[in-house]
């Protein structure tokens, strides 16, 4: 080594720090007890001199800097009124509010979601109806099925001899879908009887065929539900026989041509992959490479073997847990992937139910809800919920000191929102098996408390806003921008909103960005909107909209709607008998919040009006309306209950245990 080399060595090629020590990355296992009380010494909010907020206490407009403050959240049940409310289940938020007799309330995440859920249902319903007609869009499912049937019928008559029987099989499958979709007139006479009979048989499986959720709002939606559930029926290599593999091989041959019919089919698949999530089963497009021409149909066994070889089963011992192929496959979501592991891999703990198992897997980090590159709207919605189970992952974590009681409340919030969100996607997500006043003449004493205006989880509001931005892009791409500008969402009473979907989507995003900013302000956290969000949704405007909405939140018709829903999510076999696992929101309950600033992490009082005197700190103790969830098992042959039936069942009982028992045994 020459002299220059020595110079390089001595001037720092090997840093002296790296000579006397090493990089050390230490990770901590915080998941042993995910509900353990937060420790104040773990909280290290960063002081930001410029992050000032003005809040009013006893008429005094006080300037505070909360950037290095921490707000402690817990629940209390100490007074006689708290005891009186404990265990009571109310059918809706208005009833719960009535029982509080005007006591102060803080809008909970459940209340905010109360305003979002009807919109989500209405939006999805509007998309479903528009996707039937195809007006001003490239998606027209009804027309697609008709053209597909015509093509298959033609091939069954005029195709190569080796193709004819398979084309006939596929035609019967599509004809049955048309029969279930209320389009029997489009079915040729020689297929009509077979299709009607199959449709009748399928309707005899209510767990799959009975419309629930918003699909029970009108006959058109009911028909879409039942028909699409039929088209989700899968063929699993070596496991199922009906629908036969031949039908999907023939469909693969047809879509493999890459013509207009193929494009229309792909358009439908793309819509649901974006609107809910990509699919669990393969579609005929993925099978097409194995059926390059009609000749390949001569040896269906070889096609099936070659196809199966590309999809090794994840659960060899539980064939029904593996994907197959379907004409219009059901979607695969993040929660479904984990539920499949819990049920098919027997990863549930002793005495643990599916919902609690799912929550445990998220809390210990085995299920990461971060959307994948190809994730649809549902996964983006789930991502917003993740912060409720692992609050330390949210940016607000440094500003919040959560107790075990409050973390338990967040788990309940997660359950409720998961059920409500999943119910919107019930058809498509696969079943596993807070102004100045005139100056007074005397000094005004005031105490400072956490000035919360909405449950302070800014990350949830931000991620939910972003999920809406995502689905807005999906819909504009799949159905055209005209769809958002000229369509309104459906409501549960059958009417349409006076605003267009585009207007409501913008309003919902503005509200959620505003709730993000207001809740961030309330705990001393900086809002986290990125530049393009700030240009589309100016924070001052978003804050103003959120403040106005919060001022009359209980007057919002969507918030006042009945939140009670139920849906089957999986099937399991116990003692040789098949049961469907149901998740349900059974009503509204009241919790009493206690929010305070720990002494060592209080906000800095920057300025106080001359006539006001700060004389202390006090807690903030509003009530919150949250929801009660349950998981029950019902015989697989029992019909799912639509919303009206389920709510009537709940109305007949006034506590969770009675509702659970009645639901388990309801026919």
């Amino acid at each position: 080594m020459g002299g220059l080399g020595w110079l390089a060595v001595l001037s720092g090629c090997v840093d002296p720090f790296d000579v006397v020590g090493v990089e050390e990355i230490v990770t901590e296992q915080r998941h042993d007890d995910p509900l353990a009380d937060d420790r104040l010494e773990d909280k290290r909010p960063v002081w930001d001199e410029g992050r000032l907020v003005e809040e009013e206490f006893s008429g005094c407009l006080v300037t505070l800097n909360k950037s290095d403050s921490v707000t402690r959240l817990t629940l209390q049940a100490s007074g006689a009124e708290d005891n009186q409310l404990r265990g009571r289940i109310f059918p809706n938020r208005r009833a719960a509010l009535g029982a509080l007799s005007g006591k102060p309330t803080l809008p909970s995440i459940e209340v905010v979601n109360g305003a979002l859920k009807p919109f989500n249902d209405g939006l999805y319903a509007a998309v479903e109806l528009r996707a039937e007609s195809g007006e001003a869009s490239t998606v027209n499912k009804r027309e697609l099925l008709r053209e597909l049937l015509n093509e298959l019928v033609d091939r069954a008559s005029n195709g190569a001899d080796v193709e004819k029987p398979h084309a006939r099989t596929a035609a019967e499958h599509v004809a049955t879908a048309l029969a279930l979709g209320g389009d029997a007139a489009s079915i040729p006479a020689d297929l009509a009887e077979e299709a009607t009979q199959r449709a009748t048989e399928f309707r005899g499986s209510p767990l799959f065929a009975k419309p629930i959720g918003f699909y029970a709002w009108n006959e058109d939606l009911e028909a879409i539900f039942t028909r699409d559930r039929w088209l989700q029926r899968q063929y699993i290599p070596g496991v199922t026989v009906d629908p036969p593999f031949a039908a999907f091989a023939e469909l693969a041959l047809v879509v493999g041509r890459g013509d207009a019919l193929s494009d229309a089919y792909a358009g439908v698949l793309d819509l649901y992959a974006g609107l809910t999530d990509p699919f669990f089963d393969a579609s005929p497009f993925e099978l097409a490479a194995f059926v390059p021409d009609a000749g390949a149909l001569a040896d269906l066994g070889a096609v099936e073997s070659a196809f199966a070889a590309t999809r090794p089963p994840s659960f060899p011992d539980f064939p029904f847990c593996n994907p197959g192929v379907a004409a219009l496959p059901a979607s695969e979501s993040a929660d479904n992937r984990m539920m499949r592991l819990l049920l098919c891999n027997h990863e549930l703990l002793e005495g643990e139910n599916l919902l609690d198992g799912l929550i445990r897997k998220i809390q210990i980090g085995e299920l990461d809800l971060t959307p994948r590159a190809d994730s649809g709207w549902y996964d983006h919605q789930l991502y917003a919920l993740e912060t409720l189970l692992v609050p330390e992952k949210g940016a607000e974590s440094e500003h919040l000191l959560l107790t075990r009681a409050y973390k338990e409340k967040l788990v309940e919030t997660f359950k409720s929102l998961l059920i409500q969100t999943r119910e919107t996607h019930v058809k498509q997500v696969a079943m596993v098996s807070a102004g100045p006043t005139s100056a007074p003449s005397e000094p005004i004493p005031f105490s400072i408390h956490p000035r919360l205006v909405v449950e302070p989880f800014p990350t949830f509001y931000l991620r939910t806003a972003r999920a809406y931005r995502f689905v807005e892009g999906v819909l504009a791409s799949a159905l055209g921008t005209e769809f958002l500008d000229d369509t309104s969402r459906l409501t549960e009473d059958g009417t349409r909103s006076t605003l267009t979907l585009g207007e409501e989507l913008h309003e919902k995003q503005m509200l959620l960005y505003g709730l993000h900013a207001l809740s961030a302000d309330s705990i001393g956290m900086a809002p986290e909107l990125v530049e393009d969000e700030l240009s589309g949704f100016p924070l001052d405007e978003a804050r103003a909209l959120a403040r106005a909405w919060l001022a009359s939140v209980m007057d919002d018709a969507d918030v006042a709607r009945d939140p009670r829903v139920s849906l089957p999510v999986a099937i399991e076999t116990v003692g040789g008998r098949d049961f469907a696992i149901y998740w349900a929101v059974v009503g509204v309950k009241v919790l009493h919040l206690h929010a305070s600033f720990p002494e060592s992490r209080r906000p800095t009082v920057v300025s106080v009006p001359w006539q006001c005197v700060h004389d202390g700190w006090e807690p903030f103790e509003p009530y919150m309306l949250v929801e009660q969830t349950i998981q029950v098992r019902r015989p697989v042959e029992a019909s799912p209950l639509d919303r009206e039936e389920f709510r009537a069942l709940c109305d007949a009982h006034d506590n969770v245990d009675d509702i659970r028992a009645a639901f388990e045994s309801a026919p």
Binding site: G21, V22, E23, Q29, G365, S397
Partner: protein, 226 residues
């Protein structure tokens, strides 16, 4: 032979560059008031990761650069380099008669380094005894705590990463050496030291290792009190 050549080259080149001041390189006797003495030397660092990190004398030899200034009969202050991009200072008080052969000097020091945003606070004591007027064996014990603010992590931020405890990274630094001084203002020092790791902040991405230090230095300028 190659390693020896490298070591010699490093010792010769080191003083011309910024240094690390891994060694103690001082006796308990203080510099006479108003006088200055300089120090140039080199140290070789040895620890358990040398082999696996592919290090040898060419990479582990660092420079020792510093001066000491007499402030009073029994008080002096030392200034020196610190982890290349930093500087350190320490104040030493000889609690015995400055002209006595035996000297006992508590000392207190501060250091800061720019690159990794390090603050160091140290405290300890040195004992030395002058023999024959020219040879002075010494021993020192120092506790030095380092708060490291900017050592980069090679992994992305994650909620599972340990948080800083604020305790810093503490080293108990033991040193044994001798100084050979002449009345003409030149001296030679040789020293062996060992760092014991006492405390480690799990959230600063860095951990000191138990380390052996061997070094030599020349001292020039005004002689110490006799």
């Amino acid at each position: 032979m190659t390693s020896l050549r490298r070591a010699v080259a490093a010792m010769l080149l080191g003083p011309s560059l910024g240094g690390c001041s891994f060694g103690l390189f001082q006796t308990a006797h203080t510099q006479p008031p108003g006088t200055v003495a300089g120090r140039l030397g080199a140290t070789e660092v040895l620890n358990a990761i040398d082999e696996e990190a592919g290090r040898d004398v060419s990479t582990n030899t660092t420079a020792e650069v510093g001066v000491r200034v007499g402030l009073a009969q029994r008080v002096d202050i030392g200034l020196g380099s610190f982890f290349l991009s930093g500087a350190r200072a320490d104040v030493k008080v000889n609690v015995l008669d400055p002209k006595a052969a035996l000297a006992i000097a508590p000392r207190f020091g501060l250091g800061a380094q720019y690159k990794y945003d390090v603050l160091m606070v140290e405290g300890g004591a040195i004992v030395s005894y002058r023999l024959f007027g020219v040879l002075e064996p010494y021993g020192g014990l120092t506790f030095a705590n380092h708060w490291i603010g900017g050592y980069p992590a090679s992994v992305d931020p994650s909620p599972d990463l340990a948080r800083r405890t604020g305790e810093g990274n503490g080293l108990l630094q033991a040193a044994l050496g001798f100084a050979v001084d002449t009345k003409q203002g030149f001296g030679l020092m040789a020293e062996y030291g060992h760092w014991f790791v006492m405390n480690n902040d799990p959230g600063d991405n860095y951990a000191f290792l138990p380390t052996n230090i061997v070094g030599v230095a020349i001292r020039f300028g005004a002689v110490q009190s006799h």
